[in-house]
């Protein structure tokens, strides 16, 4: 399938070039985000009747993992409200032409931290406390507020969207999985960028801001670090930047050889498996341990969680690929071949989320009418009864996702193995075994 330039359609082009439509969505999202914080802090402590839990961990999560990431990559980042207040402070404006003079410290992000290790750590921190986070409104409220203040704080110290690029626990995995999405922002003609004076897409101009994600679009080869904020489309004086429709997982044809990204793939794959076992399994002792933060049982749970992600899964993978030595360094082979885990991990999350979301989706109707649990009935749906949805198609849907993910990974493994000049079989065996475990946990 060839690429189709979406921005050649006038309606899409004008919607992207004009700042107002995106800003309108951002303001709406910011209002929802602030309301989620408020609901978490002052609403009912019963999670299944509180806006912060139901709309963040069921409605938003379902939209993100089942629709936004697989089909739009970093589409969520384009409308995420977290950077908005910090950016306003940083720029001293929201829509007005930027003032070149920095308003705050505007430091460069430290060189040694220009990777996604901090995002790996921030995701794991949330993951270890997820049983409490997903079920306790005030903890969700505090975490949401913490992310907003962290983004504002970093905006006053560092230039551009440092929080989004290097710290956001959600942005890390969206970036990883956005490589599989059938949408991309890319330049049209490299020579135009080479000859372009001033590089306004990166440095900003009277038409817009320099890339908030600290990316030079002329060198963009994958989706991971482009937040689809559309600034470069607004600033490019040569109309040389486009949004394209493309085949799924086009970025994975040229695998990355970075260890931070490789470990992101393991973290996401392992977390999906642990969650499937702990949250959706019938083992009460594991749920108790995951929920009892600070107790001995929780420390055992945390140690096992971290061991699965950082020791067991990577070691088994290393063992699989170590039997076939070649001229490529082991580290490079390890990182390159782990690309195959990206589609597998995404589909593991889809399968896990289907179960969680379809079971609890009906809470959305009740919470819509009574978001704080104060006895309101705004849309006459407050009494909507809890009822799992589509239970008869859940297991087939999960099988389809998991087996589909396995085939997708196999294809990706072949391409990665060609790059690493090594056989793909060991990676396929690894993916196959992981899929069997996930099938056993979920189906």
């Amino acid at each position: 399938m060839a690429r189709v330039e979406l921005t050649r359609f006038p309606l899409i082009k004008s919607a992207v070039k004009n700042r107002w439509p995106q800003l309108a969505v951002l303001i709406l999202m910011l209002a929802g985000y602030l309301f989620a914080i408020l609901a978490g802090l002052i609403g009912t402590p019963v999670g299944s009747h509180n806006f912060s839990i139901v709309f963040v961990w069921i409605a938003w999560w379902a939209t993100l993992i089942l629709v936004a990431v697989p089909f739009f990559g970093r589409g969520w980042c384009a409308v995420c409200p977290i950077p908005l207040p910090g950016e306003w402070l940083q720029r001293g404006a929201i829509v007005a032409p930027p003032d070149k003079k920095p308003k705050w410290l505007s430091l460069r992000w430290p060189r040694g931290l220009r990777n996604i290790w901090l995002q790996n750590i921030s995701f794991l921190l949330l993951a270890l406390f997820s049983s409490v986070l997903l079920t306790t409104p005030n903890i969700t409220g505090i975490v949401l507020a913490g992310m907003l203040f962290a983004a504002i704080g970093l905006s006053t110290v560092f230039e551009r969207r440092s929080f989004c690029r290097y710290l956001c626990p959600v942005g890390g995995f969206i970036g990883l999985y956005s490589q599989t999405a059938p949408i991309e922002l890319r330049i049209k003609d490299k020579q135009v960028c080479v000859k372009c004076e001033g590089k306004p897409c990166y440095n900003g101009s009277a038409d817009g801001y320099g890339c908030p994600w600290d990316v030079f679009p002329g060198g963009l080869a994958k989706n991971s670090y482009c937040g689809l904020c559309m600034e470069c489309i607004r600033t490019c004086p040569h109309d040389n930047i486009a949004i394209n429709l493309r085949p799924f997982s086009a970025d994975l044809a040229k695998p990355s050889a970075r260890m931070d990204e490789a470990f992101k793939a393991f973290i996401m794959l392992g977390s999906a498996m642990v969650y499937a076992g702990v949250l959706l399994g019938p083992w009460g002792a594991m749920k108790d341990a995951a929920y009892s933060v600070g107790t001995g049982a929780w420390f055992v749970y945390a140690a096992v969680f971290l061991a699965i992600i950082f020791v067991i899964m990577p070691s088994l993978f290393a063992l699989c690929i170590s039997r076939f030595e070649n001229l490529t360094s082991f580290k490079k082979r390890f990182a390159t071949l782990s690309t195959a885990l990206i589609p597998l991990g995404l589909m593991f999350w889809v399968a896990f989320s289907l179960s969680f979301v379809l079971t609890n989706a009906t809470y959305i109707f009740a919470t819509l009418s009574d978001p704080l649990g104060l006895g309101w009935n705004l849309f006459r749906t407050a009494e909507a009864a809890w009822q799992p949805m589509l239970t008869s198609v859940l297991a087939p849907g999960q099988t389809l996702a998991l087996v589909g993910g396995l085939i997708w990974s196999a294809r990706t493994a072949q391409k990665a193995a060609n790059e690493a000049k090594t056989p793909s079989i060991p990676v396929l065996v690894y993916c196959f075994i992981a899929t069997l475990v996930m099938l056993w946990l979920l189906v």
Partner: protein, 154 residues
Amino acid sequence: MTRSRLHLLLLIVTGLVMVFAPLPVQLPAPQERTFRVDARQFAYSPSELKVNPGDTVIIQLASADVVHGLYIDGYGISIEADPGQPATLRFVADKPGSFRFRCNITCGAMHPFMIGKLSVGENEWLYRSIGLAILSMIGFFPLSSLVTAKKNEQ
């Protein structure tokens, strides 16, 4: 029809057979099975119940702390029990497979994850899913090489 399309068609047909073909299973004579299930925040004990298709299942739900419910996915039936007042659910396990049962009365923070498992006979769908995973791996290599060869020709 090209070889790759023929191969794909063969795989799809085999996959459909794997999903829908009835498995030869010998069912034991139905009997009545009674389980006492203790519920507390946020677990059932026992958390896994195994019966045969056609069995009459009696679940006596006893709650140790707050009001708990027990809803069986797929069957769409439920009961609820107050602390100290066990409740009984009686039904015929006429749908084979593996079903989650879960608390349907909000009982605390981890309520959405208070889950158990009811197995009615063998978990056929799991076996079929594993079969599909094996089939996808067996079929992948020849199909992939045919597709690659075709691309190279083009």
